[in-house]
Amino acid sequence: MSRIISYGKAINEALHQEMERDDSVFILGEDVAKMGGDFGITQGIWHRWPHRAKDTALSEQAIIGLANGAAICGLRPVPEIMFADFITCCYDQLVNNAAKLNFMYNGKAHCPITVRTVQGAGIRCAYHHSQNVEAWLMNVPGLVIVMPTTPYEAKGLLISSIRNNNPVVFLEHKLLYNTKGEVPEEPYTIDLYKAEIEREGKDITIVATQTALKLAHEAAAIMEKEGVSVEIIDPRTIMPLDKETIINSVAKTGRLIIAHEGPKFGGFGAEISAIISEHVWEYLRAPIMRVTSLDVPVAFAPVMEDYVLPKTEHVVKACREVMEY
């Protein structure tokens, strides 16, 4: 049975259901147990399973290190890093350990950890609490990077991530926690390695993630009035990436825009662009455009923060440019 719940609640529900289903799942992190998380996402778990919900010291390296070690022993840790900006503090554990663990043990051990963390700008907390971090991890073979956008995705992708035997970095977006949508009550999974075509169209393909998906949909509605049909793809998992879905779409539309919240240079959009240029260049009818933040740290003052973030008008402008090309 489906009901309308928030993205935050959907994640909480997924955690509860996986804890219920499988004894080897446990959570740990700063304030995740008694308080239920800084954003309240792990609420209720400690009350039901006090021994499977651990409040830790401020020790990101120990949190992920412990998770890796426990994973080798067959447990399924779901550590939380309070803000994605702090994965810098446990980057070694992610990049040199979790990502390589399956390879190190030559497949005899896996690393089924799901690192939940929250990224993104928009709450006026300046450059240490606003970053989008997916691109910091993309050149590290062995990782899985999941970026849920809707409540439905959040729940299904989290359940799939927890059951997956690879190290998943599960990037929630803080501006999405209160967005609502239909979510089945019972547990369900979503294929981790499959992109979702959110809207079909024939003139332009927009690949977008998280907050940028909203911009894409708004732009698509505007473009529709101008007689332009936009296809929107949410990759959901950006690594390993479902290239086929994107390639097939661009082969059809001949035009590609990538929209994401993080800075442009060296961002996620670059890889999508490069893949398309390599594989279906002959189908392209216009330059590939990227709509992103400016290449700066996110400042605190609202006028400044708003200035650097991508907006619907920027997507619309890109759409018009590729159409007029």
Partner: protein, 327 residues
């Protein structure tokens, strides 16, 4: 050795002023005028004022995220500190930093940042610079009980102790890291024990007794200036509010909160001392308070009237020598 009446009065003024500062910040944070999160230091004024009072302008100061008070007392124009928190163009960092990023190099307030434990290693560098250049400026770094969990603390104290760097580690043990009591995150009953593992002098003092704060800090500064290396001081204290303005802090027992507010208020304790030991009159203190209240009212007015930053300035100063492209 007791402090002079004069000095205690100055500290009273400082402590009262930063209490009022925080109270106003709380009001404007809760009503939405101040964007983002603020971490209030109400209840911790004795440690903040006492430590800063021991320092020279040229000493390097690394307050922490709960450090509006310490920052305001470093010598910066206080209203520009408040304006930064208000996200105004007149803020000390032009509104780009906010509550967690109020730096002022002029007075060597090196500021904090949003990554707990990272200034604990940055501060090695200012102390190293003093040693490298042969000056006797010391470096003071504030950290919370929770922050002591970070690996940086170890790398820092290990290096500072080995190289005898002039650093005073001021751990403000307000007993909680967000919801987690320090005894749930650390094995020691008193966190000053930790430094003994490095053979670094350490002690635990009553962080709500400003005289004890000053005395311990001055001992540590003297060692550091003489080249004898770092000291680690744990100041026992308490934050009255939740982790950030608005946090209901349901994780703390009511009577614990009550005890600290009613019986261990650092300002009330100092007031009592001033009256009973130093013979001050209620009136004398009220005059100080009235002056502070006036100053605060002006600051708030300044903040409210200050303009927002120019949006495009968000692109400035990313690099020292080149501009970032606009759209």
């Amino acid at each position: 050795m007791a402090l002079s009446k004069e000095r205690l009065l100055k500290l009273y003024e400082d402590m009262f002023l930063i209490r009022r500062f925080e109270e106003e910040v709380e009001v404007y944070a809760k009503n939405g005028t101040i964007p983002g999160f603020v971490h209030l230091s109400i209840g911790q004024e004795a440690a903040q004022a006492g430590i800063i009072d021991c320092l020279r302008k040229t000493d390097y100061k690394f307050p922490d995220h709960r450090g509006h008070g310490a920052i305001a007392l470093c010598g910066t124009d206080k209203k520009r500190v408040m304006a930064e928190i208000f996200a105004k163009a007149t803020g000390i960092n032009g509104g780009r930093g906010g509550s967690m990023h109020v730096h002022d190099l002029e007075v060597r307030n090196m500021g904090f940042n949003g990554i707990q434990g990272s200034t604990v290693v940055t501060c090695l560098g200012t102390a190293f610079a003093s040693q490298y250049r042969g000056t006797d400026d010391v470096t003071v770094v504030f950290l919370g009980d929770g922050t002591l969990g970070e690996g940086t603390c170890h790398e820092s104290l290990n290096m500072a102790a080995t190289w005898k760097l002039p650093i005073i580690y001021c751990l403000l043990n307000n007993q909680y890291a967000i919801s987690t009591h320090y005894t749930e995150a650390h094995p020691q009953q008193q966190l000053s024990t930790w430094a003994k593992g490095y053979e670094v002098p350490s002690e635990t003092v009553d962080g709500n007794d400003v005289e004890a704060v000053v005395e311990a800090t001055e001992r540590a500064i003297e060692r550091a200036r003489k080249g004898e290396g770092p000291t680690f001081i744990e100041f026992m204290t308490y934050r009255w509010q939740g982790h950030f303005a608005g946090d209901p802090a349901a994780y703390r027992p009511d009577d614990e909160v009550k005890e600290w507010i009613e019986n261990r208020d650092p300002i009330k304790l100092l007031k009592e001392k001033l009256i009973s030991r130093e013979g001050c009159s209620e009136e004398e203190l009220q005059k100080i308070e009235a002056k502070a209240n006036e100053e605060i009212a002006e600051m708030v007015k300044f903040c409210l009237e200050s303009p927002d930053p120019v949006a495009e300035d968000a692109l400035k100063n990313v690099y020292a020598d080149r501009e970032v492209e606009d759209r």
